[in-house]
């Protein structure tokens, strides 16, 4: 006889609320008239995320390993990561809901009559909202999943909507679709690796729960564990775009609609790093001799390659993509640190980086000419003259990426490198510092273009941001500034929440 399992609905509620919101969104798609759909969908998304956030606040002191039998562990770090995802998503949703970002009719062939008519009718694919909420839900599940299958399912739950969303850009649709295809094919490829690795971990431990894997350490020889760790890592490293599994990042970041890029860059990183941290800290901690050296190497490679290649970029979205690769390298040093400080630092870094990234992509969304967004760096020349505020904010964000003191990026870097140093990984600190120097080069170059070069004739016009974009960008920027100058609240929080139940 089957015994009905009991689920801890309270602690699962933040996720379930988002799932419910997504389903509600689907229903709205089915039964709601076209005219108000977008507004309703937006309201649902915001509301759901807010409720979820409030729910997370309520359960902040609760922890449970049996919330969903054995599939989910709600612990301090898990709640922090979920809250981060929700918060960033909440900011991102304002960008997503802003005008003119998504395709009018995805099924219409680009350039066709049908598309023209759809555009004329000011149609918009409002399905993006439920898809977005599904992705958020998946991202919330990903860092708290404690068995490989839930992990895999969560991975797919947030990946599939992203594949789709990447292809739904309103303009430059061929590029957008290509981004979707690339993202999808490579994502599925990486999933296959992940699954294959999961199989070997299962073979090694006889169970797929990551606690079980940790407990099984030493039960058999390491070969299966080795294969398992490597292949599971490939799947996860792909998601955080670590070198050499990073190739999709620039292409997809460039092709996807900018708000989605923002969302992807910020939230996927949080979710994926959450999962990586949990797996490596909880599941593979006993096998650290196996993976720490290579993750160290990958971290260094990622920092260096990300920084170096970014120099050669001519497109601002691609440049930020490479910057995000470099940041993944920095974040990996938090993984390698394998201590509480490393975890706390990573949590802090994720929030700081997420906010900055959202704001940066938000601004990219504002820089447009008659044909849509302008991402060619050469046409950003003189932006600071044209629109000093936008230029200054962007410059500030770049400085934050570069890790100049008094920005959140600096505190993050400091925290994460001290954790890495603490754990004895001095090489990673040195490499991090040097690649930061390289990275500074291209951030500074963009600042020059914005401020120190005279605008040419066909330069861009910055649109006056709508209220939604304003809200989103200003919240992200202001919190980024605050975190930079007075980081102690967030640091304390990160420290308090830096705890995985093993």
């Amino acid at each position: 006889m089957l015994v009905a399992p009991s689920l801890g609905y309270l602690v699962l509620s933040p996720m379930l609320i988002v799932f419910a919101g997504a389903v509600l969104g689907v229903l709205v798609e089915a039964f709601m008239g076209k005219t108000h759909r977008a507004a309703v969908q937006f309201t649902i998304s915001v509301g759901v995320l807010l409720i979820s956030l409030q729910q997370l606040w309520r359960i902040r002191d609760i922890s449970s390993t049996t919330a969903a039998v054995d599939s989910v562990t709600i612990d301090k770090a898990g709640i922090f990561l979920q809250a981060t995802v929700v918060l960033l998503a909440l900011i991102a949703v304002f960008l997503i809901a802003d005008q003119d970002n998504f395709v009018a009719q995805a099924s219409a062939v680009p350039g066709s009559n049908e598309e023209a008519i759809a555009l004329q009718q000011k149609n918009q694919q409002t399905e993006i909202f439920p898809l977005f909420l599904f992705a958020v839900a998946g991202m919330m599940l990903f860092p708290v999943a404690t068995d490989l299958i839930t992990l895999f399912v969560a991975l797919e739950v947030f990946s599939l909507p992203l594949y789709l969303l990447a292809g739904l850009s309103r303009r430059k649709r061929l590029l957008s679709q290509e981004a979707a295809l690339k993202y999808f094919l490579l994502g599925a490829y990486a999933s296959a690796f992940f699954l294959f690795g999961a199989a070997f971990l299962y073979g090694y431990a006889g169970t797929i729960s990551i606690r079980g894997i940790s407990a099984a350490a030493g039960s058999a020889n390491d070969v299966l564990l080795l294969i398992g760790i490597v292949f599971v890592s490939v799947g996860l490293l792909f998601k955080i775009s670590a070198v050499p599994f990073h190739s999709w990042t620039p292409d997809v970041y460039q092709g996807a609609p900018t708000p989605i890029t923002a969302f992807m860059a910020a939230c996927t990183k949080v979710a994926a790093f959450g999962a990586i941290l949990r797996i490596f800290y909880v599941g593979f901690a006993e096998a650290q001799t196996l993976w720490r050296p290579i993750i160290t190497v990958i971290a260094i490679l990622t920092m260096v390659v990300g920084s170096v290649v970014a120099i050669a970029q001519r497109d601002v979205k691609r440049m930020l993509a490479y910057s995000s690769i470099a940041h993944a390298g920095f974040l990996l040093s938090g993984v390698v640190a394998l201590n509480k400080d490393g975890l706390a630092a990573s949590l802090f870094y994720l929030v700081a980086y997420g906010l900055t990234t959202l704001a940066a992509f938000g601004i990219i969304g504002l820089v447009r000419d008659s044909t849509g967004e302008v991402t060619d760096l050469n046409r950003w020349i003189g932006l600071g003259k044209k629109s000093p505020l936008i230029g200054s904010i962007f410059a500030f964000l770049l400085l934050s990426f570069a890790g100049i003191p008094l920005t959140s990026g600096f505190i993050g870097k400091f925290a994460i490198f001290s954790a890495a140093y603490q754990s004895g990984n001095i090489a990673i600190v040195v490499a991090g510092v040097l690649s930061s120097a390289i990275a500074a080069f291209f951030y500074v170059r963009v600042i020059i273009m914005i401020f120190f070069t005279d605008p040419v004739n066909d330069s861009v016009s910055v649109i006056i941001p709508s209220v939604k974009s304003k809200i989103s960008i200003s919240i992200a920027t202001v919190s980024s500034i605050v975190i930079g100058i007075a980081p102690s609240a967030l640091l304390t929080a990160a420290n308090n929440f830096a705890n995985f139940i093993k």
Partner: protein
């Protein structure tokens, strides 16, 4: 409110207030900036008045918790060395503002922005010298780059953005190396005595040799770039050539001092053993800087480049004095920092006036100025004489102290360094001959002499240069106890002990 905090915060408040003035009313902006910075200078002088020379511990000390997670405190406090540098910075700023009244107008941005940047920079300068928390120092050290970067890039001349970038990247590179060392130190502190950034506590750490050497290098390279020491100097001439004269004054006169200040405050205090290990190397680099900078200065065709290279030579003296590890060398180096600040300020300001009148910075474009613009020529001449350390002017005292202090420990270095004074004569007299002497070059016939504003602004600098040449005692009294303490703390004692008289 602590007076030190006041000195540091006042410019920032001023910057905020300036922001409220309408952009168009640029004269009001300038006047207000001048007022604020003058008040700061006065406050700084009160700081010196209230300073107790007899104790070597930090004064005006205060500490507020900033980032408790890392035990980072907003801790300020000054000793003699910091005090004189704060005085230097705060006194120079109003002078620069007055002297370069119109320099902000040709910039990429508004006059208002210029002064906001200057005021922010002043806060950073005070902060960097007053910080007694390593992390806080680092924050000021790095954040200071940003206003300078915009000042060079936004208001400079020539290839300004390239120069600004070079400056920024060099400094960032050094800063990041230092960051690695800061992190290392923090972690080691965490393992030994609990996480802290307090300088006095950090100085008590026991670090194994190899680690100490690496940490030392991280700090030292950052400071050597800032200072700038050969071969980390190539950013300076470019930056100085592109920056406006006022910015150059702040850049060479004050900002670069952060490098040498850092060597004393951090390299020596935190890593005495490593300092000992690297001293021969550093002394060598200093000597190379002295000679190399001088030769390069001789070869310059651009007046700003010339001043920049003379500074490189002078910074060689300063680092040599610091690492000679004698009280004479140390005090001399400290005094040199102040003196170099003022004499470079004089040189750059006058050169700036010359250049703006002629619209050129090429030395050969000038000639016969002594007869056309005698006051300007004399100002330049005196500044130049201070640059070549003529006895009776301020630089001489410090240069000689450095040389004497060095000789007692490293005679060869001192001897080679002394040869630098011949080269100094060349690099100062050649441009003086070309600009002030000889027939009046075409285009200079109707050049205007200094106006009242310019005279008022240069007069105090020249007065300081002359007075400090004959009577450096007040400043030396501030410096001496601290430098003696630095030498002792680094584990050295003077080779020539006190003679009983």
């Amino acid at each position: 409110m602590n007076l030190l905090t006041l000195v540091g915060a006042l410019p920032l408040v001023g910057a905020a207030l300036i922001y409220l003035i309408p952009t168009k009313d640029s004269e009001l902006v300038k006047k207000f900036a001048l007022l604020v910075t003058s008040l700061v200078a006065i406050a700084a002088i009160f700081l010196a008045v209230g300073f107790d020379k007899s104790i070597t511990s930090l004064q005006y000390a205060q500490s507020y918790s900033w980032i408790p997670t890392f035990n980072i405190n907003f801790a300020l406090g000054i000793d003699g060395i910091s005090l004189v540098l704060i005085l230097l910075s705060t006194i120079l700023v109003p002078i620069v503002i007055l002297a370069t009244w119109n320099e902000s107008e040709g910039g990429r941005w508004s006059v208002k922005t210029f002064y906001v940047l200057i005021l922010i920079l002043e806060t950073m300068m005070v902060g960097v010298f007053a910080a007694s928390d390593l992390f806080l120092f680092y924050v000021f050290f790095e954040a200071m780059l940003i206003p300078v970067y915009f000042l060079i890039g936004g208001y400079g001349t020539g290839n300004r953005s390239a120069a600004a970038v070079k400056f920024l990247l060099y400094s960032l590179f050094g800063g990041l190396l230092m960051l690695a060392s800061v992190i290392g130190l923090y972690v080691i502190a965490g393992n030994q005595i609990g996480a802290t950034f307090d300088l006095t506590q950090l100085a008590t750490l026991e670090i194994d040799n190899q680690t100490e050497n690496f940490l030392f290098l991280g700090f030292f390279i950052a400071f050597a770039i800032k200072a700038p020491l050969w071969p980390f100097h190539t950013w300076l001439p470019d930056a100085a050539k592109s920056a406006t004269p006022g910015t150059s004054v702040l850049l060479l006169g004050v900002l670069d001092k952060v490098g040498t200040y850092g060597m004393i405050r951090f390299c020596l205090a935190l890593f005495p053993d490593a300092s000992k290990t690297f001293t021969p190397l550093i002394i060598t680099l200093s000597v190379i800087s002295i000679i190399y900078g001088a030769f390069m200065a001789i070869g310059q065709k651009d007046i700003k480049g010339l001043i920049a290279f003379t500074s490189i030579s002078h910074f060689g003296f300063i680092t040599m004095g610091i690492f000679a590890m004698t009280s004479q060398g140390m005090s001399g180096a400290n005094l040199y920092m102040v003196n170099h600040g003022f004499s470079t300020a004089a040189l750059f300001l006058v050169a700036g006036w010359m250049m703006s009148r002629r619209n050129s910075s090429t030395i050969s474009d000038f000639g016969g100025l002594q007869r056309v613009t005698p006051v300007m020529a004399w100002s330049f001449f005196i500044a130049g004489m201070s640059g070549l350390a003529l006895p009776g002017l301020s630089s001489f005292v410090s240069e000689f102290l450095v040389l004497v202090g060095t000789y007692t420990r490293y005679p060869v270095a001192a001897i080679i360094g002394t040869l630098g004074i011949v080269l100094a004569a060349l690099y100062i007299l050649i441009p003086i001959q070309k600009t002030l002497h000889g027939p009046i070059t075409e285009g200079n016939e109707n050049m205007k002499d200094l106006n009242l504003r310019e005279k008022i602004s240069i007069a105090p600098v020249i007065a300081i240069i002359v007075v400090m040449g004959f009577y450096p005692k007040p400043v030396l009294d501030l410096i001496n106890p601290t430098s003696a303490k630095v030498v002792v703390d680094a584990g050295y004692s003077d080779p020539i002990a006190e003679v009983n008289k």
